[in-house]
């Protein structure tokens, strides 16, 4: 599907989503509370078939977090980026590890480094840091007086 076709298709399917302009890939902004249903639609709607989640990341904007999901259809070769704005004091979003299995570890990573809680995640534990580690190292306001030399 071309970018225009994908955009018009998504506009019909997800009236609540807004499009981000001027991006290389088609990008939609969604409400995090609706994410689980949207994810299922994106994955299973015939014609979309976004079956490959190739990047899952979190961005700390100091005022809020943004979850970013990059996905591709191996069938139709189109790429879609989904962004969801999260509350920084209580970041929470539904897991998609049951839709894309690869999300299980990526979500653990986002939890480990940013403290984003993924509801209904089967195994939300620390991934890189030790079990007893305090804090979320990739947050912009992270302080570690033992290991960090501030500049």
């Amino acid at each position: 599907m071309t970018k225009e076709e994908l955009k018009s298709r998504l506009g019909e399917l997800l009236p609540s989503a807004t499009f981000e302009e001027g991006t290389e890939w088609t990008t939609i902004m969604i409400d995090p509370s609706a994410w689980k249903g949207i994810a299922r639609q994106l994955r299973f709607t015939p014609g979309l078939d976004l079956d490959y989640l190739f990047c899952l990341s979190c961005v700390d904007w100091k005022t809020h977090f943004t979850m970013v999901y990059h996905m591709e259809s191996t069938l139709h070769r189109h790429i879609l980026v989904v962004k969801a704005k999260l509350d920084r004091s209580d970041p929470e979003i539904a897991t998609v590890s049951d839709i894309w299995r690869t999300a299980e570890f990526h979500e653990r990573e986002a939890y480990d480094l940013f403290g984003v809680r993924f509801t209904d995640h089967p195994d939300l534990r620390r991934l890189f840091m030790t079990e007893e580690w305090k804090g979320w190292p990739l947050r912009k306001d992270y302080e570690d007086p033992v290991n960090m030399i501030k500049l």
């Binding site: 890189f128 190292p137 992270y142 570690d144 290991n147 960090m148 030399i149 501030k150 500049l151």
Partner: protein, 178 residues
């Protein structure tokens, strides 16, 4: 043999020609050090981009085998020198320490590049990087660079050979050159 070149030091000792051959007079310690310096087996150990340069140095173009770093060993039990090629993070530090402890004496360490020397680009504002591999294990030779070129690694390896041939231990060198 090119005697003027330091890297091609001849066999230590004097040859006294006699009828039908000759007699070599030398010191056993010097012979041992000469042998050791010309047969240093490095450990397969690389933690980031410096390892790519190290592999290049081992490859056909630069070929560190020419200087006696013949075979990289995948086990510390058979290795003589460990080239710390890359960043050492807090999680890697105990692994590095264990590898070093498992190597048989005499063993040598080269800190390759900025990360292994001081933490380099990760010195400030990082929670995970060890600020210099010498916090974990003693280092014989440091190389500057990010990453250093293969020539720099070869220079460090040759420097290590000179250090071994001089016969001084790490402690002796520190006392003599404060």
């Amino acid at each position: 043999m090119d005697v003027g070149n330091k890297t091609a030091d001849p066999f230590p000792g004097e040859v006294h020609p006699t009828a039908g051959g000759g007699i070599v007079v030398s010191k056993l310690d010097e012979i041992i050090n000469w042998a050791r310096s010309n047969s240093l087996w490095p450990l397969v150990f690389g933690t980031s981009c410096c390892a790519i340069e190290m592999m290049s140095t081992a490859g056909a173009k630069y070929d560190w085998s020419r200087f006696g770093f013949e075979v990289a060993r995948a086990t510390p039990r058979q290795a003589d020198v460990i080239v710390i090629a890359g960043t050492i993070v807090n999680k890697m530090a105990p692994v590095l320490k264990r590898l070093y402890d498992q190597m048989a004496d005499p063993k040598y360490v080269i800190a390759m590049g900025a990360c292994a020397t001081s933490g380099g680009p990760f010195f400030y504002n990082t929670y995970s990087v060890v600020k210099g591999a010498d916090h974990v294990i003693p280092v014989d030779v440091y190389i500057a660079g990010c990453p250093p070129r293969p020539e720099a690694l070869l220079h460090a390896l040759i420097t290590l050979q000179e250090k071994i041939r001089s016969g001084a231990t790490r402690e002796q060198i520190k006392v003599e050159k404060p």
